[in-house]
């Protein structure tokens, strides 16, 4: 009985050491990944800022007047269609009708 108890304790100690060792390795990996994510996040933020600036409505309007010959056209909501898929069947319906925007 005592041998079993000692053996259990010994195994537990061994297991604890192994777990701690592997935990430390994982922690190191997490730290490294976090550091990488942090720098990537910063880079992403800068790229997004650039993207937001270049694709801002103000800039797009500027490009439109610079490069497009024709003016942009206004979308008539009555002409907007909605595609829905049900049982492998595609259904095209009027957006306004579906949302009951139309007059009664």
């Amino acid at each position: 009985m005592k041998k079993v108890v000692f053996a259990t304790i010994f195994i537990l100690i061994l297991a604890t050491s192994l777990v701690k060792n592997s935990t430390k390795e994982i922690e190191d990996k997490i730290l490294m990944i976090n550091e990488n994510i942090s720098s990537l996040k910063s880079e992403l933020g800068d790229v997004l800022l650039e993207y937001n600036y270049l694709s801002s409505p103000d800039k797009l309007t500027q490009y439109q007047t610079q490069y497009f010959i024709k003016d942009l056209i206004k979308i008539n909501i009555m002409k907007i269609k909605e595609i829905t898929e049900k049982n492998n069947l595609i259904k095209i319906s009027d957006l306004v009708k579906r949302r009951s925007y139309d007059e009664r």
Partner: protein, 560 residues
């Protein structure tokens, strides 16, 4: 030779030590093994304590949010779709230590090669003063590289942070400014000053960049057309109070960091309090319906053209052709003053006051920016206060509160809190403050005001716009002037309202060249504005705004 005798005495030695093979030899081995295990046990206990300690330490570390100590740090601000409205970016400042310069002439020559348009006599003077000075702040990477390539030890750089506003003017009244000490002095920057210095994640607002841009463009256009001194527009979700757009003109470029002292740059949505005229008639009728005193088809017969109240105060219709017999619905459609007064008298001071308080018109509103105006206090016992308030005179409020009032009246009677901050989940339970049938009846009447009444120019096909116009005269030094405040408070779609749009143009003038296109399907066009009223100014602007933002609202914010 004498024989030496050695006597050997043999004694029986009774040895006391007797070695016996112990039958329980195990005891000794057990002690040793026990000792070894005891040592192991101690080690394991130490290990366990250390592990537990590390575990708790890690937990503690997780609980403590890392304090951002970077100088001048402020969190970014984004719109509801994640577009940057404000971003703090890393920057580099480059300066020169004159004491470390070996050859001043050579350095100036090299700097002249990099900076073509810099004042070099000033740099030369600074070099002679032997005191560190900045050559360029927030330097571009390419120029920084060029300077570093000079390899001069006197040139040093330091990292810093700068706050960029990629949308320039677009959100100036919402975001506000910061001072040189990195403290917010207006708008969100001021109201959330401490939070912005602490939080790691960007602050997400409810506004939509595209919608804000389109509304501002239209407002700028109509401000020019009607030569308005200023203008404002707010688009808000009537069900949760989220503000999708809030524009006040004139605005300013946040990147220029100018000190704004001109009062014309006031935030006309939140700070400016105005007498808004007939848009208040909606509240009078809603108050009567909520009190159960009137219905849309309740008739008010034999109304006089002029009624008196207080001390020699006469109230009359703006239009002499106003019929004497009108239903409640017709009173709002035709914007009748006398009819509104009769309804208000039926409701009474206490009930109407309580109603206006309930929908948040009378008191200062609790909002997300510092610039909030306080409506003027009302002396309800003075002369004919109830009567004038019935048609929107003698009562002031902000455009934001007007939008809130219209939201509550049309959303089923639920209280809302206008907000600019996007919340992760909408967990707050809705509080019903008006009776069930008020919204249904009011939405129907507001729709008719647009389809048959004074706001026909905002009757954009497909959106079921409802609303009410308000043409008021600006009060200067307690005297009504000729300066007009033209307002349209609209909601859409009236069948199940989702948005409230309020457009206000201040101090407008008629435009003889502008061509109005009627929205009744006739294709009729009218050149020149017949009257300087809301129906011919802010209603037209609101119609054009809905034309542009409508498809975005209908497709981008579709609810399944």
């Amino acid at each position: 030779m004498r024989d030496k005798k050695n006597n050997v005495i043999l004694e029986e030695y009774d040895n006391e030590f007797s070695y016996e093979r112990s039958k329980t030899n195990l005891n000794i081995e057990f002690n040793r093994v026990a000792f070894i295990f005891f040592v192991f046990l101690i080690i394991s206990v130490i290990y366990s304590i250390q592990l537990l300690h590390l575990g708790s330490l890690k937990k503690m570390m997780n609980n403590i949010k890392p304090t951002i100590t970077k100088k001048n740090y402020r969190a970014d601000i984004i719109d509801r779709n994640g577009n940057y409205l404000v971003k703090t970016v890393d920057s580099i400042n480059v300066g020169i230590h004159p004491a470390k310069v070996i050859d001043k002439k050579h350095l100036l020559l090299m700097l002249n090669h990099i900076y073509k348009n810099k004042n070099f006599s000033e740099i030369k003077n600074k070099l002679d003063q032997d005191k560190f000075f900045y050559l360029e702040k927030n330097i571009r990477p390419k120029r920084y590289e060029e300077l570093m390539m000079l390899g001069d030890k006197s040139i040093s750089s330091e990292a810093s942070l700068i706050r960029l506003y990629p949308q320039d003017n677009l959100f100036s009244h919402i975001i506000g400014q910061i001072d040189g000490d990195n403290n917010g002095i207006s708008g969100i920057e001021k109201f959330f000053n401490e939070e912005l210095k602490k939080i790691n994640e960007p602050l997400k607002l409810t506004v939509d960049l595209d919608i804000q841009f389109l509304i501002r463009e239209e407002l700028l256009r109509f401000q020019k057309i009607f030569k308005a001194k200023g203008s404002a527009a707010i688009l808000m979700n009537v069900n949760n109070g989220e503000i999708l757009s809030m524009v006040s003109l004139p605005d300013f470029n946040l990147n220029k960091r100018e000190t704004i002292k001109d009062v014309n740059y006031i935030n006309r949505i939140t700070k400016g309090t105005y007498e808004l005229g007939s848009v208040f008639k909606t509240f009078t009728i809603a108050s009567g319906i909520n009190a159960g005193l009137i219905e849309p088809d309740t008739e008010f017969l034999d109304s006089k053209k002029i009624i008196s109240c207080g001390k020699n105060h006469n109230i009359e219709e703006y239009d002499n052709k106003m019929p004497s017999d009108l239903t409640v619905e017709q009173i709002l459609i035709k914007s009748g003053n006398i009819g509104s007064v009769r309804i208000a008298r039926k409701v009474g001071i206490e009930r109407h006051k309580s109603f206006l308080k309930t929908i948040g018109i009378l008191d200062k509103i609790d909002f997300d920016i510092a610039e909030v105006g306080k409506p003027l206090a009302i002396d309800w016992n003075e002369g004919c206060k109830l009567e004038t308030i019935a048609f929107g005179h003698g009562i002031t409020t902000t455009i934001l509160q007007l939008a809130k009032g219209y939201s509550i009246i049309t959303n089923g009677g639920f209280d809302i809190k206008p907000t600019l901050i996007k919340k992760i989940s909408d967990s707050n339970e809705k509080k019903k403050v008006l009776k069930n049938d008020v919204s249904k009846k009011m939405n129907s009447i507001l729709r008719k005001v647009v389809s048959e009444g004074t706001a026909k120019l905002v009757n954009v096909e497909g959106y079921q716009v409802g609303g009410k116009t308000g043409t008021a005269e600006q009060v200067n030094n307690s005297i009504y002037s000729n300066i007009k405040i033209n307002t349209l408070a609209s909601i859409f779609p009236t069948e199940n309202p989702k948005y409230v749009l309020v457009v206000m143009l201040e101090s407008t003038k008629n435009n003889k060249e502008y061509i109005y296109e009627y929205r009744d399907g006739s294709g009729f066009k009218l050149k020149g504005s017949p009257r300087n009223t809301a129906g011919w100014t802010s209603v037209e602007a609101a119609g054009k705004i809905i034309d542009k933002i409508g498809p975005i609202l209908a497709t981008k914010y579709i609810e399944n």
